[in-house]
């Protein structure tokens, strides 16, 4: 099911229920005009979901999944750190457009 969600959505955010950092990721993407899918993970399911997500991979060398985790275009993009860094450097918006998450 997790696998389906990743492949069916241009952007999806996996985060712990009630986590404030997940909220930050969501607000940032919404502010850019993206409507991300959100999957709230229960504490008891955390490890299981993390391993499933790692299996999907596509994140290159650093495949370890930490929440919140963002998938763009079916591949693991990273956490809040990477979202922030790529947004500031101006790389995030083109990536989102390419994945079909953003239309001009």
């Amino acid at each position: 099911m997790v696998h389906d969600m990743v492949s069916e959505n241009a952007v999806i955010v996996f985060g712990r229920r009630g986590c404030c950092m997940s909220h930050v990721v969501k607000r940032l993407l919404l502010g850019l005009g993206v409507n991300p899918a959100v999957y709230e993970v229960e504490e008891k399911d955390e490890e299981g979901v993390a391993r499933e997500l790692e299996a999907i991979g596509g994140g290159g060398d650093n495949n370890k999944v930490q929440f919140p985790a963002v998938f763009i275009g079916g591949k693991l993009f990273g956490g809040l750190d990477r979202i922030m860094a790529t947004h500031i450097s101006g790389e995030l918006v083109p990536i989102l457009k390419q994945a079909g998450a953003l239309w001009l």
Binding site: C20, V24, R27, L28, G31, L32, M84, H87, I88, G90
Partner: protein, 362 residues
């Protein structure tokens, strides 16, 4: 036998224990600690026993066993006993000295910490005498060593920052080459990376301390946003100072400002959510209930998220500085960093002037 000189000779002969000399070494404050009354009778007693034997013994030689072996065995017993007493007295003396030194060391540490607190209070322009804000003057609980360490490191950081600013100003005025300028720029960028690293460690020690900007001066704290400066605000201040820019650069800086604003908004909204969930978890259950342990456990979990916020905000600041250095030429970047450094210097100066301004008599 005249007692004073005999006493002097005897002390030298004993060699190990010289109470008069030691008292001079330790200073007057020790008088209360040293059990003088115990030591002096020891000497007098020893002197009385020894005097009768000393007529043939030569002066100026420290007491050795060799001399005394030639005497009859009865005095040898007494001498052995006296030597044992000497050793005991010396041992006690060493223990007392050790205790005194330890007392000095801990007093010194306490003094350092008090001086730091006082300096901080002075910077903040606060009145030391009581009042509502006594919490700001130090820590209600035990001194936090992580924070004490941070404050000392920060003092050095500011000093180094000031000297880097001076160097950069001189370099720009002297028209040095780009390569040398790049070194200075890289040094300053690394120095900012250093403060973010320090803050991260301090946040683990006491996140509220970092969040409230307690180490900063009053004027700096006025502009505080999640434990530091707001990148978009800073860009607005610096932009006119780095002209002339190319059209592409101006566009890039404008985009950077917008991205910062968006990232800051997202973080601010996250903070609001944190406040809300924290308030909810504390208020959970009837407010009238006597026991509130379960709420506190949840609340503490939530508060730990604050450390992440401080780290993310600093991450944003660092990325913004780096993007600026990518957009600008090396000379523009140098001017930008100089302006940034001077801006903070002026804020600190303002804080000082403010707290020292003459006030109307009541």
């Amino acid at each position: 036998m005249n007692s004073p000189s005999t006493q002097f000779v005897s002390s030298r002969r004993m060699g190990v224990y010289d109470p008069i000399q030691q008292i001079n070494m330790w200073g007057d404050s020790l008088k209360s600690n040293v059990n003088l009354s115990a030591s002096i009778p020891l000497i007098d007693e020893a002197d009385i026993k020894f005097d009768s034997q000393s007529e043939d013994a030569s002066h100026g030689i420290l007491g050795t066993n060799i001399k005394y072996d030639q005497e009859a065995s009865k005095p040898v017993d007494k001498i052995q006993r006296r030597l044992a007493q000497n050793r005991e007295a010396a041992r006690k003396s060493r223990l007392r000295k050790k205790a005194y030194v330890q007392q000095l060391e801990s007093s010194r540490l306490k003094l350092m910490q008090l001086e730091q607190e006082l300096e901080r209070a002075r910077q903040q322009g606060m009145y030391v005498a009581g009042g509502l804000d006594t919490n700001h003057l130090g820590f209600a609980g035990p001194i936090n060593s992580g924070i004490t360490a941070f404050e000392m490191e920060y003092g050095h950081w500011v000093e180094k920052q000031n000297s880097q600013i001076l160097e950069l100003r001189n370099a720009l005025n002297s028209h040095i080459g780009d390569l040398e300028l790049r070194i200075l720029v890289d040094d300053m960028m690394n120095h900012y990376t250093e403060i973010f690293r320090m803050k991260s460690a301090a946040a683990k020690a006491d996140v509220f301390y970092v969040m409230s900007g307690m180490w900063k001066t009053t004027a700096e704290r006025f502009f505080l946003w999640i434990g530091g400066f707001r990148p978009s605000e800073l860009l607005k201040v610096l932009l006119p100072l780095i002209e002339p820019l190319t059209e592409q650069q101006r566009l890039d800086v404008c985009n950077l400002g917008q991205s910062c604003q968006q990232a800051e908004d997202a973080l601010s909204q996250g903070m609001e959510k944190l406040q809300q969930t924290l308030a909810d978890s504390i208020a959970a259950g009837q407010l009238m209930e006597g026991s509130y342990i379960p709420q506190m456990a949840t609340a503490i979990e939530k508060l730990e998220a604050l450390v992440s916020f401080v780290n993310q905000a600093d991450h944003l600041r660092k990325e913004t500085l780096q993007q600026m250095s990518r957009i600008l030429t090396i000379r523009q970047a140098a001017r930008c960093l100089l302006a940034l450094g001077e801006y903070f210097q002026r804020l600190r100066a303002l804080s000082s002037l403010w707290s020292n301004r003459p006030r109307e008599p009541a």
